[in-house]
């Protein structure tokens, strides 16, 4: 069931965006070699963004880099660079997320690598694009959410702009990069031709909002208005949102307001027979509903609403989800082990292929763990000597 058997990916990228793309390729069966600088490696190893550290590396590094190998090289050192170039001759895919200009200075830009390896698929992610006045800005998730309007879609109108609590732009740009890489790998299988794929976090953040931006572009550049009651979705009418109940929370998606009023005995809603008002009088409706729903527990409301096919649900945090029988059915968790024997529980690739889950047992590599083996396998040291003679 490995889709990418014998595909070799050489990944220079760090943090989340690029490495999440190579994680997807690894899940599809590719062999991923992380090239890391000696001593420190991928900064994400030490970036204790959470206070959770597992076996000397951050929990997020462990999650992002499982199923990969680590090769250390100092790209500013001529001998190391010769070894890397030899490795790149054998690569099907090369990935990096350096800031614009860095890879050119290192002499590993697409044109150079293409000369070594004409059918290579060469992929890069930048923060704000390869050109323009913003190209040198740091490609950091929160800054991208802030620059692209994402933070102004969430929460209730009187709250600060609210960023999504997931590194969504990193994840999207990594996923887009993986799409571009896979499409060019397919092309390479068909015609032998590789190519270059570029993604920026800025474009990925805009694409994420493509439906809403299309409204904005064609609606006189009218900006989205967050609801003043129970946030939700700025373009969707009542009751869409998450409501407080007597004991916890209840999510209500698009639903007929009158039917909802009848089912919940919320008689004030029966007056809203004009569907247009569900949007134009959204806040008034939600206000009424928010007060009413606090009278009973989530379970009681679900018992009324679910049998009537109303789109509703309880709202779970991670503990609630993990304890739910439905979660166990999903088999989302898997354990991987690193070479120190440390066992890490993480999530698997989200899709199934031919009825099988895509799982792995290999944890993230220790820094430089595979350097010697890779040197030997690809004869890289040998070339270092040859190279030294030539130069």
């Amino acid at each position: 069931m490995n889709f990418l058997n014998d595909i070799l990916v050489v990944d220079f990228s760090q943090f989340l965006s690029g490495p999440s793309a190579s994680l997807t390729l690894a899940d599809l069966g590719a062999r991923v070699i992380k090239v890391e600088r000696p001593v420190t490696g991928d900064i994400c190893r030490e970036l204790y963004v959470s206070d959770v550290v597992i076996d000397g590396a951050s929990s997020i590094f462990q999650a992002i880099n499982r199923s990969k190998e680590s090769y250390t090289a100092d790209l500013k050192n001529a001998a190391d660079l010769i070894k890397i170039k030899k490795l790149l001759k054998r690569a099907d895919v090369v990935i990096h997320n350096f800031r614009p200009g860095v890879i050119e200075r290192l002499g590993l830009d697409y044109q150079t690598v293409k000369q070594l390896n004409p059918s290579v698929v060469y992929a890069s992610i930048s923060g704000f694009g390869a050109e323009g006045p913003w190209k040198d800005l740091p490609g950091q998730d929160l800054l991208l959410q802030s620059a692209t309007g994402i933070a102004l879609l969430n929460n209730t109108a009187h709250e600060n702009p609210t960023p999504l609590g997931v590194s969504i732009v990193d994840i999207l740009s990594g996923a887009h990069l993986a799409q571009g890489i896979l499409s060019l790998l397919y092309q390479k299988m068909v015609s032998g031709t590789g190519g270059e794929v570029q993604v920026s976090m800025l474009e990925s953040a805009l694409d994420f909002q493509f439906e809403l931006l299309t409204c904005y572009y064609n609606d006189g550049h009218d900006l989205p208005q967050r609801s003043t009651v129970n946030g939700g979705h700025p373009y969707v009418g009542a009751p869409y949102g998450i409501y407080k109940t007597a004991d916890s929370w209840l999510a209500l998606a698009m639903t007929d307001i009158v039917v909802l009023g009848q089912l919940t005995d919320c008689y004030a809603l029966l007056a809203y027979t004009n569907r247009d008002e569900w949007f134009t009088r959204r806040d008034a409706i939600k206000q009424v509903l928010a007060a009413h729903l606090q009278q009973r527990s989530t379970k009681e409301w679900l018992a009324v609403l679910e049998p009537a096919d109303i789109w509703c649900s309880e709202v779970l945090d991670y503990t609630g989800l993990r304890n739910h029988p439905a979660y166990k059915e999903l088999e989302m968790e898997m354990t991987v082990k690193n070479s120190n024997g440390t066992v890490i529980t993480t999530t698997r690739c989200p899709f199934k292929i031919d009825g099988q889950l895509l799982t792995s047992t290999t944890g993230a590599p220790l820094l430089g763990e595979h350097t010697n083996a890779i040197d030997k396998e690809f004869g890289l040291n040998q070339l270092q000597k040859e190279g030294a003679v030539v130069s």
């Binding site: 959470s50 206070d51 959770v52 929990s59 999650a63 694009g129 323009g132 929160l142 800054l143 802030s146 620059a147 692209t148 933070a151 879609l153 969430n154 709250e159 600060n160 609210t162 609590g165 997931v166 590194s167 996923a175 799409q179 571009g180 060019l184 397919y186 270059e196 794929v197 570029q198 920026s200 800025l202 474009e203 805009l206 694409d207 994420f208 439906e211 299309t214 409204c215 064609n218 609606d219 550049h221 900006l223 967050r226 946030g231 373009y235 869409y240 998450i242 998606a253 698009m254 509703c312 649900s313 309880e314 779970l316 945090d317 609630g320 439905a326 059915e329 993480t346 899709f351 031919d354």
Partner: protein
């Protein structure tokens, strides 16, 4: 661009609304020919699901955004003759996608095994809400509900407050992306080994998958993970990470050392805290920062922070953004002609061989390509 990587491939899209069709849109932009198979009465219900009452040529504007660059073939799958026509089409196709609830395609007679019998090398990809088994299997696969059940709403907004959903259909979009990844992987295998594939994906798996960093941390965290009570930016991150109010607007502060922040703002009091306090005293530190940042403008703070190389940004609306040169050089917008009207939408975010992928082909009217497809594809 003359040659696109997926040129020559045919995708039959039985999918509706956003999740599957957003995947189809990406395949189309990468060069595949995507044919929507729609019921004669009304077609994809997304045609009628207008956001803000915006319509173009009889269809919802958002339908146009999701379905540009595709064709439409109408077929009543409960009618034998139409089903035969569709099966003929399946013989020519490379990929099928659908996002009906479990059981629907089986009833029609287009489950994977049925389709495989017609075309052995087909790549058949389906999206459900919650998978085929378990207590949630019959739940509607609606974005907000999946956000609510997958823990996503507890990543956003402040700790102690309400769970805050993402203000857009994030899970639909992510599952459409996962769909494309799996299909492309399967196409590569088919090219090398001659095998088709059956791909199953659910919104809930996509939603959990997109939180993989948070889940992994949660599994190994003794005290669980919590949203900050003050200006939460990401539950995994310590102070000062978040968006703050300033005297005139807002300001985002990403990861940075407290002492660097103190130096940049010339703010001695912050040095009372140590870098080790950023998680333990996260809320306390952020409260102080929030108070401080209110005393001056976004521009003022931003200049100081940027000068010190710290990761900070202003908060832009789309209107602020589209007036910047940084946005304009992207050329992210493209125009489509629909029924004598010009509409604007975004292009594909992926650049191939230095070229941005644009396509001027608008979304199809319902059944617009049926006759031509019967004539050319079936007989050809």
């Amino acid at each position: 661009m003359n040659q696109l990587p997926l040129n020559g491939l045919i995708v039959l899209e039985f999918s509706q609304y956003l999740s599957g069709p957003s995947g189809g849109l990406r395949l189309a932009d990468l060069g595949a020919r995507v044919i929507k198979i729609e019921r004669p009465q009304g077609g994809d219900p997304c045609r009628r699901l207008a956001v803000k009452n915006l319509w173009v040529d009889g269809d919802a504007l958002n339908f146009h955004a999701i379905n540009r660059n595709k064709e439409s073939f109408t077929a009543d799958l409960k009618n034998k003759e139409d089903l035969e026509l569709v099966k003929k089409l399946i013989r020519k196709a490379d990929v099928i996608t659908h996002n009906f609830r479990p059981g629907v395609m089986e009833k029609i007679g287009l489950a994977y095994k049925d389709v495989k019998a017609v075309n052995e090398k087909i790549i058949y990809a389906e999206i459900s809400g919650f998978g085929r088994r378990g207590p949630w299997a019959k739940k509607p696969g609606q974005d907000l509900l999946v956000q609510s059940l997958s823990g996503l709403a507890y990543t956003t907004g402040n700790g102690g407050g309400a769970p805050v959903p993402f203000g857009l259909s994030a899970v639909d979009s992510i599952s459409g992306i996962h769909l494309v990844q799996a299909i492309l992987g399967a196409l590569i295998r088919r090219q090398r080994e001659g095998k088709g594939a059956y791909i199953e994906l659910s919104l809930i798996e996509s939603a959990i998958g997109m939180q993989f960093e948070l889940f992994t941390t949660f599994f190994h965290s003794r005290n669980s993970i919590h949203r900050s009570k003050v200006n939460n930016g990401n539950p995994l991150l310590g102070a000062p990470y978040g968006i703050y109010k300033t005297a005139d607007h807002f300001l985002s502060l990403a990861m940075m050392e407290l002492r660097d922040l103190a130096a940049a703002l010339d703010w001695e009091e912050l040095n009372a805290f140590d870098q080790q306090d950023v998680f333990q005293k996260r809320d306390e530190i952020k409260t102080l920062i929030a108070k401080k940042l209110k005393t001056n403008t976004t521009r003022h703070w931003l200049d100081r922070l940027r000068r010190n190389g710290l990761w900070a940004a202003a908060v832009y609306s789309w209107k602020d953004l589209d007036q910047t040169e940084g946005y304009q050089v992207l050329k992210m917008e493209q125009e489509l002609q629909v029924g004598g009207k010009t509409i604007r939408t975004t292009r594909c975010p992926i650049t191939l061989n230095g070229e941005k992928l644009v396509s001027a082909k608008a979304a199809p009217a319902l059944g617009a390509d049926r006759e031509a497809i019967i004539k050319h594809l079936m007989e050809g």
